[in-house]
């Protein structure tokens, strides 16, 4: 790689296609979007570049701020749930016998091989008022009600007179379930990688010095796997923040996130300049988060290198 200066032609031959591809289909459209964000709509189809900041000012409108806020908190909570669920999963895989590991990892990766649209439609079937999840809740309710009757409390209807199905679709809960389900593998893998790398004698040393299992987890395991947790947080949070399909299908238009509003600007709203400003703002947030993450990772790596 370092000799590309000497073999400049070979370098060109190898990299021109990919640079051309990136330039043509990524940087040029991105530049156009950037220009649009300083433009104004004129008539139905024209956009005039006037270098106006109006589109960016509109980002501060209360509706848009509350939209961003909703996107952020939905993503923050879903990320937190993802981490909490994926940590024990990662621990199980990391401590499993060597011959089981590839299979367990396969189970985690398997959903990637199914189209997102199909997986999300499958969730519709599960989360609906007559869906499988409500079937399960109904069954639990019946069992609970019967148990209460058996101990003579049946007349009080402590669990309600009838089973009322829980509404997931069109509610934040449904969207969060979808986000957690789709992005869970992204959280499991980096945490697994950091646990796999961890020298087990740290944990044994902690036990040997008299620490309980819980204390060893909190004071040794958790801090030493913080790198994996940080990566997991970033790579689940960023796509969650920009997710479109899940809030669109599971939110039923009631739980819009940024991407849904962006889509509307480009389609039914026919306000491309404002849609562009929204898109770029999302991009900036992503950049800042990635920069913070790589800064943290760099510090971590330096520490590990010094450790030898």
């Amino acid at each position: 790689m370092e000799s590309y200066r000497r073999n400049f032609r070979a370098f060109l031959a190898f990299f021109t296609p990919s640079f051309a591809w990136l330039g043509l289909f990524f940087f040029v459209p991105l530049g156009i979007i950037w220009l649009y964000s300083f433009g104004e709509t004129e008539g139905l189809t024209k956009i005039r570049l006037t270098w106006t900041l109006e589109n960016y000012k509109r980002l501060l409108e209360p509706e848009i701020i509350s939209l961003f806020w909703r996107s952020v908190w939905l993503s923050v909570i879903s990320t937190a749930i993802c981490i909490v669920i994926s940590y024990p999963i990662a621990m199980v895989i990391a401590t499993a016998k060597a011959k089981w590991k590839p299979w367990l990892l396969l189970v985690i990766i398997l959903p990637f091989w199914t189209n997102l649209l199909i997986r999300t439609y499958a969730l519709l079937n599960i989360l609906g008022t007559r869906g499988r999840l409500n079937d399960l809740l109904h069954w639990l309710w019946s069992a609970g009600d019967r148990a209460l009757s058996m101990i003579g409390l049946g007349d009080y209807h402590l669990l309600g007179e009838r089973f009322v199905p829980v509404k997931f679709l069109g509610e934040p809960a449904g969207v969060m379930i979808g986000l957690v389900y789709v992005y869970l593998p992204f959280a499991v893998l980096p945490i697994y990688a950091s646990l796999e790398r961890l020298d087990r004698s740290y944990l044994e040393a902690s036990l040997d010095l008299g620490a309980s299992q819980w204390r060893t987890f909190r004071q040794i395991l958790l801090p030493l796997s913080s790198g994996g947790i940080n990566t997991a947080m970033v790579i689940t949070f960023i796509p969650m923040l920009g997710s479109f399909l899940i809030p669109d299908l599971l939110g039923r238009g009631q739980v819009d996130m940024i991407a849904n509003v962006i889509e509307r600007q480009f389609k039914s709203g026919n306000d491309w300049p404002f849609g562009s400003a929204l898109s770029l703002f999302l991009l900036y947030i992503t950049f800042i988060l990635l920069a913070l993450q790589s800064f943290h990772a760099m510090r971590q790596r330096k520490r590990e290198e010094a450790r030898g």
Binding site: A205, G210, P223, G308
Partner: protein
């Protein structure tokens, strides 16, 4: 040391199986208070597993471990009065040196002032007082090992367990650390149990050594006894260097004596008292290089009543070793043996041409007759 003193660690009939693999087989040994005890053996002999069973990081399939008279069965690692220095040191990278040392004390909920005092004391003991606020990544390997030592000793364990404590250090530091560990043990007074694969390390540091091979305890003795009276071929070969000759035939002589045939030395008559009492497998004749004399002709000097063994050969390489040299004698019956000779003798031998005839001899009393495995039934 008083032999009647009760052992600080008593291992009884410990067997450890991993699936169908037997890592340790019926190990019984006692560790005395205040001694340095080495578990010695080639890699995979089960020595680290035994250490981990004592620490409570591994459970024995059969048998018991008692520490200071108390049965440790079912007692987890965090409740045992022993502490361990890990092979990788396992110094917590996210804590300062002082926090590492204080970790075990904080768990005991001691007052902060007392913890500070003890940490300072422990760090002074391992000469790391100036490094208290450093992070482990700012320390050398040797310094990190000292942190691990201080962290374990500050807990005042009844026994300190060390897993290959010197293997990760470079050669020069290793020699210095050997001495320092012995001094440290003398000053703290608790027993050290050291796992090592390096026989010279065990010989230099330990009061007693247990030699393990394939999960079986082959011999437990003082370093001098192991060297002078190894019970079998494996122990003799593992401890120090030794010339060995496989016995190919055995004939009874008058009384209980026997004539042992070897390819290299021919037939040698040995009295019954020299034959091993226990063990199984083919016999081996063995003699340490420093017991072998070389010269133009065997000389009957001050030897025991047992007589001499002498063998003719040709002069091979002479390897200079400072105050002594190792002389290789190419035997007429095939094979070779080495003899350790003084500087003066080496000078004399060097005058002869390589390949010139030479005789090697030793006292019959200095020759060991070893079974393949003394523990096998």
């Amino acid at each position: 040391m008083n032999k009647s003193e009760s052992p600080i660690i008593s291992v009884k009939g410990v067997t450890k199986r991993f699936g169908s693999f037997t890592a340790l087989q019926d190990i019984s040994l006692d560790i005395r208070p205040g001694e340095i005890f080495a578990l010695l053996g080639p890699s995979g002999c089960g020595k680290s597993t035994l250490l981990r069973i004592i620490a409570g990081l591994e459970t024995a399939t059969e048998g018991t471990v008692a520490i200071d008279g108390q049965d440790m069965t079912g007692i987890p690692a965090n409740k045992r009065p022993v502490n361990m220095v890990f092979q990788s040191y396992a110094v917590f990278p996210h804590m300062s040196v002082a926090d590492n040392v204080a970790y075990g004390l904080k768990l005991e909920r001691r007052p902060a002032a007392e913890i500070r005092e003890k940490v300072a004391e422990a760090l002074a003991q391992v000469h790391l007082s100036d490094f208290a606020h450093r992070k482990p990544d700012q320390l050398s390997g040797g310094q990190r090992q000292r942190v691990a030592l201080a962290r374990a000793l500050v807990k005042r364990p009844k026994v300190l367990l060390l897993d290959e404590p010197l293997s990760a250090l470079d050669a020069k530091l290793r020699d210095a650390m050997r001495l320092e560990l012995v001094k440290l043990q003398e000053s703290v007074g608790v027993s050290f149990v050291i796992v090592t694969h390096d026989q010279s390390e065990a010989l230099a540091m330990a009061d007693r050594i247990a030699v393990l091979k394939d999960g079986v305890l082959r011999q437990l003795d003082s370093p001098a006894a192991l060297y002078k009276r190894p019970v079998d071929r494996f122990v003799a070969d593992f401890i120090g260097s030794i010339n060995m000759f496989a016995v190919t035939g055995r004939r009874a002589e008058g009384g209980d004596a026997a004539r042992l045939e070897t390819a290299e030395l021919g037939a040698i008559a040995v009295p019954a008292a020299h034959l091993p009492a226990a063990g199984k497998g083919a016999l081996t004749l063995a003699v340490r290089p420093e017991r072998v004399k070389v010269g133009a002709k065997a000389q009957k000097e001050a030897q025991g009543e047992g007589g001499l063994v002498s063998v003719a050969g040709r002069l091979g390489d002479v390897a200079f070793q400072g105050n002594s040299s190792i002389v290789e004698v190419l035997l007429e019956g095939g094979g070779s043996l080495s003899a350790l000779v003084s500087e003066a003798e080496a000078d004399h031998l060097m005058q002869a041409e390589s390949g010139s005839p030479i005789t090697a001899w030793w006292a019959l009393d200095d020759m060991l007759i070893l079974p393949e495995n003394a523990t096998a039934a």
